[in-house]
Amino acid sequence: MAKVIEGLYYSESHEYVKIEGEYGYVGITDYAQDQLGNVVYVDMPEVDDEVTAGEEFGAVESVKAASDLISPVSGTVVEINEALEDAPELVNKDAFANWIMKVKLSDPSEVDALMDAAAYEASCH
């Protein structure tokens, strides 16, 4: 069974956001990495890009297919996880530790529209 972590917010398209103050760390869930198989490339946004909740901000790719990444929150990208550029497989090793982008949130109340851990876990069944 795929891992789910309490305290994070989850989207139906299997991204999570971990809130720390005015920032959110966004990545894909353990369930998503398991469904995707070996990740061979993560297409990340650039620092200073604006992202919008519900819109694409990049892609995560297996050998065979590219899956769009949908941002669960809106804001400005302040950091990307550069380790994924050379080692995209880190997403498979620990999807929650290896977030993809750090966003300065423009509307922190957006997380209210996301699922909590229990609701997300239920939605994966």
Binding site: G37, N38, Y41, D43, G58, V63, K64, A66, E85
Partner: protein
């Protein structure tokens, strides 16, 4: 329309394969992991269910004349046991299909065609028999087929299946009596590695599959790695690098088109392409970064779209992001800088040979 199943369908499901539709069949794309299966074939041995492939028997006094008429390669006076790769063409030069032709006897040829094209090809082939004393029979339903591929394929096919195949040269075959039937065993494949393809009844193919897979020495491999393997060595896939609208000259496969033959369907069109040059061509492109170019992505240069990616991957064997693409001939020269648009961003690349990994055939 529901997908067809091969005689090994239940075995794939039992092995936990991920099944996907391909060429009208429900086929295993992978059992465990595409990269692991890919590496097994490059380094040891893998077995593929390729029972979805079509088989057509051409027989009769005009069999050779008929094959010469519909096929771009030259089988005139060929020795029995020899195999030829080539295409069937439309009069305008576009490709009906690419195929293997096995010379079984002086008046008998065995044609192996792509699964997705079986109905189209067979109807087209029947339409070319006017004035020919020849029978053209679709035997696709009765044959199962395995591809045993990799540097250990010869040793393991002999040891596990008891089929003597060591003496077979590349692109030759022989028939072998086994289990009360006549098998066709050829030294062919679609991976760039040494290997064999075995055609037999469903019962034989099921039995042989079990022996190979249960031995633990031969890895069951899905169509996912079949595609990554053939791609790395520059082999075309019908639908990507060859289509009804794309000729073998444009695909860079002119060596399989024998223009010194007296006649074949489409000859005039491809001869003209060869003489006057083509306006577009399939090339290889190597990207500087890791972003993955995929089928259908735009290729750009000088600020405009100059072509389309036909197949692309982050190569499992080399780690480089590479693709084959159909591009404007003006940019097709080796070393030309081009870009591929991947997720809205332009990625820098350079035109290369289509072969991204060296073949390892036993000739």
């Amino acid at each position: 329309m529901s997908e067809k199943r091969t005689c090994l369908y239940e075995k794939h499901v039992a092995l936990g394969a991920k099944m996907v539709p391909f060429g009208g069949f429900e086929m295993p794309i992978q059992y465990t992991d595409i990269a692991d299966e890919h590496n097994a074939v490059r380094q040891a041995c893998g077995v593929f269910d390729v029972s979805h492939m079509g088989e057509v028997l051409v027989e009769g006094p005009d069999a050779e004349r008929y094959v010469q008429h519909i096929f771009t390669n030259d089988v005139a006076g060929a020795p029995i046991g020899k195999i030829y790769y080539g295409m069937m063409l439309h009069p305008h030069g576009g490709t009906v299909d690419d195929l293997l032709v096995y010379k079984m006897a002086e008046q008998k040829f065995f044609l192996v065609i792509n699964a997705a094209n079986i109905d189209k090809d067979y109807a087209w082939m029947l339409a070319q028999t006017d004035g020919m004393d020849v029978s053209v029979i679709n035997q696709s339903e009765q044959y199962g087929q395995l591809a045993v591929q990799g540097p250990q394929a010869e040793a393991l096919t002999e040891k596990l299946l008891g089929l003597e195949c060591a003496e077979l040269a590349f692109y030759t075959f022989k028939t072998i009596e086994a289990e009360g039937e006549t098998l066709i065993v050829s030294r062919t494949g679609y991976t760039g590695e040494d290997g064999f393809e075995i055609y037999g009844s469903h019962a034989y193919i099921q039995k042989a599959w079990d022996i190979l897979v249960n031995s633990g020495e031969v890895k069951p491999c899905g169509l996912g790695c079949r595609d990554t393997l053939r791609f790395e060595v520059g082999l075309p896939l019908y639908g990507d690098e060859l289509t009804d609208e794309l000729s073998p000259i444009e695909a860079g496969l002119g060596m399989f088109v024998k223009l010194d033959k007296e006649e074949f369907i489409g000859k005039e069109a491809v001869a003209k392409q060869k003489a006057e040059g083509v306006s577009r061509k399939i090339v290889g492109i190597e990207l500087a970064g890791r972003a993955i170019p995929r089928h259908g992505y735009d290729v750009e240069a000088d600020g405009k779209v100059i072509g389309t990616v036909t197949t692309g991957y982050n190569s499992i064997s080399t780690g480089k992001s590479v693709c084959m693409a159909l591009i404007d001939i003006a940019y097709a020269k080796l070393g030309t800088p081009v870009q591929v648009r991947i997720h809205r961003k332009l990625q820098d690349g350079v035109v290369t040979k289509k072969r991204f990994y060296e073949k390892n055939y036993k000739k």
